[in-house]
């Protein structure tokens, strides 16, 4: 093989790699996450969800109402069904989370250290449910390529926690649709780079006046027998939510 040909090959490869990287860099990683979060959560939202927890032994369906004021970092979740669990409420204000227990009629505080524990035995953590940590503020984002997931062309983003961020994941891989940056799949890795669980988003449709994924499925990666799905039944975006909703009085109302 002549030297000339070698040089040609190398320069070709180099230009392809750099050219590809240039295309990828044309959009900013942080922007993708911001747009994706904006689309799925808005400034505020009020939604009704159906949460299904399937484990080896049982399957359980809960109906919940979730309200969130993203700017002020407040959220409130109330369980409506099944009857046995109805009336349990969760309130998050900034970094504090409380759980009102209907049965004993008292409130317990969920310490920040418990934000990553399972929420109600589901595969979602407390943090996943009330969104205390922020993919935008607590992580450094970078685009690492493109991939096709379930036939959808996606940007593949790697999120690495900032040094002081109060998060436990060693890394999050975030797949966002190239067309509108909506989340398709999210993989959670521990500090040893082992995937612990992953979220798949599907049923993209227009709801609350915008296209969003309406079915979220979280699965631990080491266990084929269990998963949790969260399905949006109805949702409204950017409708002002009265301040009293995010209060302890509302949390403990009878």
């Amino acid at each position: 093989m002549s030297n000339k040909f070698k040089t040609l090959c190398v320069s070709l490869i180099v230009s392809i790699v750099f050219g590809y990287a240039n295309i990828a860099l044309a959009v900013n990683a942080k922007e993708i996450i911001e747009k994706s979060e904006d689309a799925m959560r808005g400034k505020s939202l009020t939604g009704n969800y159906s949460i299904t927890i399937k484990t080896k032994r049982w399957t359980r369906v809960m109906e919940v109402k979730y309200q969130e004021n993203r700017g002020k970092h407040q959220s409130m979740l109330e369980i409506y069904a099944p009857v046995k669990d109805a009336g349990n409420r969760f309130l998050l204000i900034k970094n504090d989370m409380w759980h009102y227990i209907q049965k004993t009629q008292n409130t317990i505080m969920i310490a920040p250290s418990m934000m990553l524990q399972s929420w109600m035995g589901s595969d979602f953590s407390n943090d996943d449910i009330v969104k205390e940590s922020s993919l935008i503020d607590d992580y450094n984002q970078k685009i690492i390529g493109q991939e096709v997931i379930d036939g959808i062309k996606c940007y593949k983003l790697e999120l690495n926690p900032k040094p002081d961020a109060p998060v436990v994941w060693g890394k999050i891989i975030y797949f966002a649709r190239v067309s509108d940056y909506l989340l398709v799949r999210q993989e959670f890795y521990n500090e040893h780079n082992v995937m612990k669980k992953f979220l798949s988003c599907s049923n993209f449709k227009v709801m609350g006046g915008r296209t969003i994924p309406t079915l979220y499925k979280m699965e631990p990666s080491n266990d084929g027998e269990r998963y949790t799905t969260l399905e949006i039944k109805s949702i409204k975006f950017n409708i002002p939510i009265p301040e009293r909703i995010f209060s302890k009085q509302n949390l403990t109302r009878k």
Partner: protein, 416 residues
Amino acid sequence: MKDFNIIIQLAWRNIWRNKRRTVLTLTTIIIGCAMILFNNALFHGGTEKMIDDAVTINAGHLQIHQKGFFENQTMENAFIPDSGLISTLNELKDKQMIKDFSMRVQTDALISFNDTTSGAVVQSIDVEKEKQLTTLHSKILPGGRELNSSDRKNIIMGDTLAKNLGTGVNSIITLLTQGFDGSICAEKLTIVGLFKSGNPSYDQRLILMPHAQAVETFAMGDFIHSIIISINRSSDLNQIMSKLKNVTDASSIEILGWRELIPDIVQFVVIDVSVGYIFAAILFLVVALTVLNTIQMSVFERTREFGVMLSIGTSPKNVFSIILFESVFITVIGIAAGLILGSVICTYFKYNPIDYSRFASEFALYGVYTTAYPAKLTALNVVITAVVIYASSILFSIIPARRASKLNPVDAVRHL
């Protein structure tokens, strides 16, 4: 036969001819023998106590679980004990092979008191039965009380856990967890006592709750998480395990002996036992070398005497036998006295265990919470000590005895 009598007589007289030398040798053997006996008894008693403490505090000798529970102690890993298993357990109990058995449920929970919330492990206890099996529930600090069989929504918890929650006896805490059916389980419970076991994994994390209440609170139905079994004789362990394995389905049930239940202690015991062996080996060597030294010296001293004996017709074989019998006499007397002395020391330390409580925190690093170590003398220990000392002493006497028998009489009589 006549030769034999003379040999015995000569040997016996020889050892008492130089009293100081004999007494010195005897002392070495006596003290060596007693030390070896004591050393072994101490290691044996200590490891047995460590295991016993670790077993009786909460683990039991045997536990039966849903397969996978021990690795992954979650609510889901529960099972319904079938009637075959229960009747086998009752049968073993009737045969006095097991002391008793008890069922438990166990789950992780959030415990909240005022504004403090902490994670804890809630374990149920069958109050009456656990009295036969474990001791943790009885290690109650003053000011509290043990659970009794009429308690329902009362609990006892580890003192460190209570401290971390800022709570104490007579306070009401809220327990929150997920039930077996997936529902939210919450209960207000009154603390009636705090226990302190010295084992941080219990004191920092554990809550004991009456079994009947736990089954109701956690919506367990007929499911349980473990059966704990206490046995009467540790030698029966394997036999009981195989009996239980015969009546259970190995694909769904795990049966674990204390070796698997408290692996940290078992590892510590392995280290401890090997240290004990090294100590014993050193002591054995010291005793044997002392015997060799004394006999060697006494032969050397009596070179001329042996020369005369050989010159007047004593056969080398008889000279060899005389020296060997000397060491047999000394060793036998020494071992007998040493065993008596050793037994006395062992008995003293059986009732007055060595107290290491000042080093409790160092011990805890190895997962050991036993601080009083009694000596335990076993027949095996006595036999091994006697046999090994005897054998090594005799073995080491062969060298000087051979030397004396091979002396050249002409040179030997001239020896000064």
